[in-house]
């Protein structure tokens, strides 16, 4: 009998969250449920990690590590929050650890020297880009640079809100702070981004 079944009388089907249902099925020994979880969530976790770490190689590593932690945590898993909240919390913590480790070995060198979707590389490529494409690349680069310059405290809520489309309540659960604090952090981040991107936005 699973740990969950001992502490909660609800059956798997009584949970509305498909992520929780799959996780509980996996906990009870169904390996296909884990494969389904992976298929369902690896893309959003990868994209979130890409935006947090600014590097798709690191993002792949963090995405894999996130699911390995999910795999290892299955025997003691208890559905206390939405599954997406839980898995984003794991990914966020791994990203923060990665950022700290990178900072120790020279974050700037890694980001500006090793990034795999930078403007510098695009400009250095031999094929000249059409003007509109070049402008698009520049806009991408400017947004990326502006968000990259935010401290993690502001970067995490803005990425989760703008790109992962999570609610303030869910972001508050992931980051472990109040919903009001999240609203204020996003507000601060937006004010900062507006200043950084004032060349590109009319307001």
């Amino acid at each position: 009998m699973s740990h969950f079944a001992k502490s909660d009388q609800r059956t798997i089907e009584e949970y509305d969250d498909p992520g929780i249902q799959l996780m509980l099925q996996f906990q009870q020994g169904d390996p296909v449920a884990f494969a389904s979880l992976f298929e369902e969530y690896y893309r959003p976790i990868f994209k979130f990690s890409c935006r947090m770490l600014m590097n798709s190689g690191d993002a792949e590593e963090i995405t894999q590590e996130t699911f390995i932690q999910v795999y290892k945590a299955a025997p003691r898993y208890q559905p206390t929050a939405k599954f997406s909240t839980w898995i984003y919390t794991i990914a966020k913590n791994l990203c923060l650890n990665k950022l700290k480790a990178k900072k120790q070995v020279g974050l700037m060198e890694t980001i500006h020297g090793g990034e795999d979707f930078s403007l510098d590389e695009v400009l250095a490529s031999s094929d000249p880009l059409p003007e509109t494409e070049l402008e698009q690349q520049e806009r991408t680069h400017m947004v990326k640079r502006a968000i990259e310059s935010l401290p993690p405290l502001l970067r995490i809520p803005i990425i989760l809100s703008r790109y992962q489309e999570l609610s303030n309540q869910e972001i508050a659960s992931i980051t472990g702070c109040s919903e009001t604090a999240i609203k204020l952090r996003i507000h601060r981040a937006m004010g900062y981004l507006a200043k950084k991107l004032k060349r590109y936005v009319k307001g």
């Binding site: 992976f38 690896y42 893309r43 990868f46 994209k47 890409c50 935006r51 798709s56 993002a59 792949e60 995405t63 894999q64 699911f67 390995i68 795999y71 290892k72 979707f117 698009q136 806009r139 991408t140 400017m142 947004v143 990326k144 968000i147 809100s161 703008r162 790109y163 489309e165 609610s167 303030n168 009001t180 609203k183 204020l184 996003i186 507000h187 937006m190 981004l193 507006a194 991107l197 590109y200 936005v201 009319k202 307001g203």
Partner: protein, 154 residues
């Protein structure tokens, strides 16, 4: 028109307003406010533009082609590692039961030191030297006198 509290409230809710996370009552309140407050209207418009402009930052939608293969290899290794994990020796499996017993025994030992102190030797009580003690104890009369003095005192 000076409405600091209202402006603060609107600014706090401005992102929720953009993302549609506010209920219809609050949505109309914000709309009413920005219709008559130019600074809040300016901020909401600016944030809307930044919010839209952020759409420009796209990241690779999927990882590299080897990603999944590498992941399942790692899971396979994890399964293998968990399967081959050395089992605890039988004596170690008692851990949860013998650890508290050992701790309780230690506490009892320490308490007994204070509750039942060991009797101190005579020479420490009266601070006499070994030679004198031996001399007294070897003299049967002296022993007799000491014992009778204890009986009198008792």
């Amino acid at each position: 028109m000076d409405r600091p509290m209202e402006c603060f409230g609107v600014r706090e809710q401005s992102i929720s307003f953009l993302t549609g996370e506010v209920d219809s009552r609050l949505w109309f309140e914000i709309l009413d406010h920005i219709a008559s407050c130019s600074s809040c209207a300016e901020e909401v418009n600016r944030f809307q533009e930044v919010w839209d402009f952020m759409e420009n930052w796209d990241v690779p939608p999927i990882p590299s082609p080897t990603f999944k293969n590498n992941f399942w290899k790692k899971i396979s290794a994890e399964r293998e590692r968990a399967h081959n994990k050395p089992r605890k020796a039988p004596w170690f499996q008692w851990g949860p039961s013998w650890v508290p017993v050992a701790m309780a025994a230690t506490v009892l030992l320490v308490l007994s030191w204070f509750l039942f102190p060991v009797a101190k030797p005579v020479k420490q009580l009266w601070n006499v030297d070994d030679g004198l003690v031996n001399e007294v104890l070897m003299d049967p009369d002296a022993v007799e006198i000491i014992l009778s003095s204890f009986e009198e005192a008792g």
